[in-house]
C-alpha cells in the first residue's frame, strides 16, 4: 500500500513561503488568488494490505516524527 502524507502549517500560523509565493503570483498578474499555503508531501510504501492498520501506523508516524503538531497539521491518504 502507498500512504500519501501532506503536512501543512496550521491555520493561523503564518506561512512565510506561501506568502512569498502569493506576492510573486500577484506581481505576475495572477490576481485572483486568495491564499497560498506551501506544505510538503511524504510518500510511504508500506508492506501491508490492511488499510486500517496502515492508517493507524502512519498516524503514529506523523505524530512522532513526520509532523510537528505544535505548528503543523497533516492529512493521510492510503491507496
Amino acid at each position: 500500500m502507498t500512504a500519501i502524507v501532506n503536512v501543512f502549517l496550521k491555520e493561523g500560523v503564518l506561512d512565510p513561503q506561501g506568502k512569498a509565493a502569493h506576492h510573486a503570483l500577484d506581481s505576475l498578474g495572477f490576481t485572483g488568488v486568495k491564499d497560498v499555503r506551501i506544505g510538503k508531501q511524504i510518500i510511504l510504501q508500506l508492506d501491508t494490505d490492511d488499510k486500517a492498520k496502515a492508517e493507524a501506523e502512519v498516524k503514529e508516524m506523523c505524530e512522532t516524527l513526520l509532523a510537528n503538531t505544535v505548528i503543523e497539521d497533516y492529512t493521510i491518504e492510503i491507496n
Binding site: L14, P16, Q17, A20, V70
Partner: protein
C-alpha cells in the same frame, strides 16, 4: 564545572562551545550522538549549533531521536541543566523539553549578523549574572529562528517568567528580526533547568571580535 557538549552529524559549533566554557575555566567533554549515556558528574549539557542531520524534514527533528537525547531527556527530567543554542534550541523544542517551535524566518532569509537582545527575566540559572532590561550584543545566524507558540502557551511563558530574551534595539525595545512571537529570542522550561536561545553567546567572547557579552551569559551557570 564540567560541561558535556553534544555532537551530531552536522553539528558545527561544538568546538566554539568548548572554547567558550574552557575560556571560563571549566572542563568540557564532547559526547557523540550515538552514546547512550552522558559522562558522570556533569553540571551542564550543551546542545550546540549547526545543522544536525542536514536540517532534513525540520530543523532538529531527526536529532531528537538520537540515543544521546534519551539520556539528555532523563537528565533534564531529573533536574539537570541543559542549554540549547541555535540548532540546539530547535532540537530541544522538537524533543518537547522546551515549549513552542521554531519556524522559517518570515523574510525567508538566513540572517547572520550581530543583534541586540534585551534580558527579559534573570531569575534563573542562565541569566542571573545579567540585569533585567540589560541589552546584550550577540551574533545570530539562522534560517529557522521564528519562534512560535500558541496564545495559551504564551500566557504560561509570561506568567512563569520563562521568556529569557527578546530581539531589541539599543534601548531594549523589541524589534522584529525573524517574525518570532513578541520578538522572543530565548525561553526556558517551567522548572527553569532547560534553556534555549537562537543567538550564539559562544561567538561573543572577545571585544576585538565585536562583543564579549556572551561571557556574562555563559558565566550564569557557575554556582
Amino acid at each position: 564545572m564540567k560541561v558535556a557538549v553534544l555532537r551530531f552529524p552536522g553539528t558545527n559549533c561544538e568546538f566554539d562551545t568548548q572554547y567558550a566554557f574552557e575560556k571560563l575555566g571549566h572542563t568540557t567533554q564532547l559526547v557523540w550522538h550515538e552514546d547512550e549515556a552522558l559522562p558522570a558528574n556533569i553540571d551542564l549539557v550543551v546542545v550546540p549549533g549547526g545543522f544536525s542531520y542536514g536540517d532534513y524534514l525540520r530543523s532538529g527533528s531527526i536529532a531528537h531521536f538520537s540515543p544521546v537525547m534519551k539520556a539528555v531527556t532523563s537528565y533534564a527530567n531529573n533536574g539537570g541543566q541543559v542549554l540549547g543554542i541555535c540548532n540546539g534550541f530547535q532540537i530541544l523544542t522538537e524533543a518537547g523539553l522546551l515549549p513552542g517551535a521554531l519556524k522559517r524566518n518570515n523574510n525567508l532569509h538566513f540572517i547572520s549578523k550581530h543583534q541586540n537582545l534585551c534580558v527579559i527575566n534573570n531569575d534563573n540559572a542562565f541569566l542571573n549574572k545579567c540585569a533585567k532590561g540589560e541589552v546584550l550584543n550577540i551574533p545570530i545566524a539562522h534560517a529557522d529562528g521564528n519562534y512560535y507558540i500558541d496564545e495559551e502557551g504564551f500566557k504560561k511563558l509570561e506568567a512563569n517568567n520563562q521568556i529569557l530574551l527578546r530581539y531589541s534595539d539599543e534601548e531594549g525595545n523589541p524589534v522584529v528580526v525573524n517574525g518570532s512571537v513578541t520578538s522572543i529570542a530565548g525561553v526556558c522550561n517551567e522548572s527553569k533547568n532547560v534553556f534555549g536561545l537562537m543567538p550564539h553567546p559562544e561567538r561573543a567572547l572577545e571585544a576585538i571580535l565585536g562583543s564579549e557579552d556572551g561571557i556574562r551569559m555563559l558565566k550564569g551557570f557557575e554556582a
